[in-house]
Amino acid sequence: MKNTLISKQIRRNILEMAFHGSTVHLGCALCLVEIFAVIYRNHLNYDYFNPSDPSRDFLILSKGHGVMAQYACMRELGWLTQETLLNYFGDGTDLKGLSDSRVQGLEVTSGSLGHGLSVGVGIAFGHKIKNVSQKTFIIVGDGELNEGPCWEAIQFAGHHQLQDLLIIVDKNNFQAMDETAAIINQDNLKNQIESFNFNVMEVDGHNELEIDNAINNLYERRNNRPSCIIANTIKGKGVSFMENKNEWHYLRLNQALYDAALIELER
């Protein structure tokens, strides 16, 4: 149910999946929790009983590595069962380690980075041609913005004034092998995206009120410009021994670490 879309419960679901599936990419999912919670709870228009309803708003996870956060929300929405979560990565199951559009509720196949942004921009462009005001939300990673097609999509969205498009950059300052600043510096990201005719706001990506206010504010003043939120997040947020520890892009939970992580969530 929507009212159980609370960060603690979403993180609990993520840890549960990651432990039972013995999966990687925990840090990439934990930083997205508040962003997903606010969008699903307060902004996304969808048919609760039919996630594929054509008149829905679209929520696209371009940064496919964070997909456990979306699964965790879909569990709270009743779109996935507890059994499905506990069987994560089992032989013959459907939920993969990256976003796969054949799972109802996920919109794109991503993980190879720089794809979801263009597909989402295409969806937003299609809605504009049809003259309907369905919204498109796209979550991209800051590391993902290394990819050239992201910038092709951003320039196209700005040029075509896709005002019902909101891009959220999950700026956790890490990518697979290092800090983003050490690989491709993004100090000037806000100005860069603004220069493509976007309205851009920067928020604390773990402060739900700030995220909520920014989405409302950007929507009200959109005026033929697409919107972007740069959400400053902490990779591995919520579990102290994972926070800003890039090895949790790759590490798996054993029983002891799982127990320790759950205790932290209850604090």
């Binding site: 054509p54 559009s101 054949r102 919109e107 794109v108 196949t109 991503s110 190879s112 720089g114 794809h115 942004l117 263009s118 597909v119 989402g120 921009v121 295409g122 969806i123 937003a124 462009f125 299609g126 809605h127 041609i129 049809k130 050239g148 097609p149 092709e152 999509a153 320039q155 196209f156």
Partner: protein, 311 residues
């Protein structure tokens, strides 16, 4: 062929407002009729092919039927991953037109030449691959592609070689089109050609009257029964394509013929290398030994060795 493409496009756009033509800033002049008749259905996506394919996938997800146009060096080669993931993974109805395939841009060099596109596209699940040889085949391919509501790649090669057929065609996906049976009393060798090499093949048949001639405008799916029939009727099948001998028509026919013990497949096409020199289209065909004279020698040798084998 380009006029046929242009007029088919206008007809389809009139009959289906969901059709959108997307181009990566290519096709100067080709879309004048469409832009005049249905300007809202033409979108120049800029020189950004990867985004163009992603946007096409998004548009098709909300009900549109995009036709993505580019040079085949870019569509599909540059954007192969977008075609695979964004479009084919979900079986979305997007048509890709790869123009100028083979050595059409003979003077421009390797960046604009495309001799590997059939090989890579046919390995992508859900993707239909077509390679029409003249205006009549093109018109039928476009209809088949549009009506399929599936992802399709249509390869367009050298477009000014002239027609081989003389009237509108009805063939199905995968069909081989028999243009001429081999002389049964002679060596039983048939030439199977696709795309721009169809006209070349028909000219070669004038030099070798005993040759059979078959066109393969639809490369994936391909009707295995048709290939098996061909193997049974022939001692040797010669494939001819303006594409690498690795993974193209020759490989497609060989895949099926491998189960036929008595038929030999001789693959004529582009060997495993890039063009070395600049020159006319005809020059590049000769550099790669798929010009008329080189092919004549190859076919002569093939017929001669078939005769010897037949005893």
């Amino acid at each position: 062929m380009r006029d046929t493409f242009s007029s088919k496009l206008v007809d389809l756009a009139h009959s289906d407002p969901k059709l959108l033509l997307l181009t990566g800033d290519h096709g100067y002049g080709l879309f004048n009729s469409l832009r005049e008749a249905r300007p809202q259905q033409f979108i120049n996506m800029g020189i950004a092919e990867q985004n163009m394919v992603g946007v096409a996938a998004g548009l098709s997800r909300v009900g549109f039927k995009p036709i993505v146009y580019g040079l085949s060096a870019f569509i599909p080669i540059r954007v192969l991953e977008q075609i695979k993931l964004d479009v084919c993974h979900d079986n979305l109805p997007v048509i890709f037109i790869g123009d100028g395939a083979g050595f059409v841009y003979s003077h421009l060099g390797t960046s604009h030449q495309s001799t590997e596109d059939i090989a890579v596209t046919r390995a992508i699940p859900n993707l239909i691959v077509m390679s029409p040889g003249d205006r009549f085949e093109l018109a039928r391919c476009i209809d088949l592609a549009y009506d399929s509501n599936l992802p399709v790649y249509i390869r367009l090669g050298k477009a000014d070689r002239g027609d081989v057929h003389s009237k509108n065609l009805i063939f199905n996906l995968g069909d081989l089109i028999h243009l001429k049976e081999p002389d049964p009393s002679d060596t039983r060798v048939t030439l199977v050609a696709t795309g721009s090499m169809l006209k070349m093949a028909s000219l070669l048949c004038e030099s070798f009257p005993s040759l059979g001639l078959v066109s393969a405008p639809s490369l994936k799916p391909i009707n295995a029964r048709h290939i098996k029939d061909l193997c049974e009727k022939n001692h040797t099948i010669i494939t001819l394509e303006e594409h690498s001998i690795y993974g193209g028509l020759g490989s497609i026919i060989s895949d099926v013929a491998a189960s036929m013990s008595h038929a030999t497949v001789k693959k004529l096409g582009i060997q495993d290398r890039f063009s070395e020199h600049c020159g006319s289209y005809e020059y590049l065909l000769s550099e790669h030994k798929i010009d008329f004279e080189s092919l004549k020698v190859e076919i002569y040798n093939c017929i001669y060795s078939s005769e010897q084998a037949a005893g």
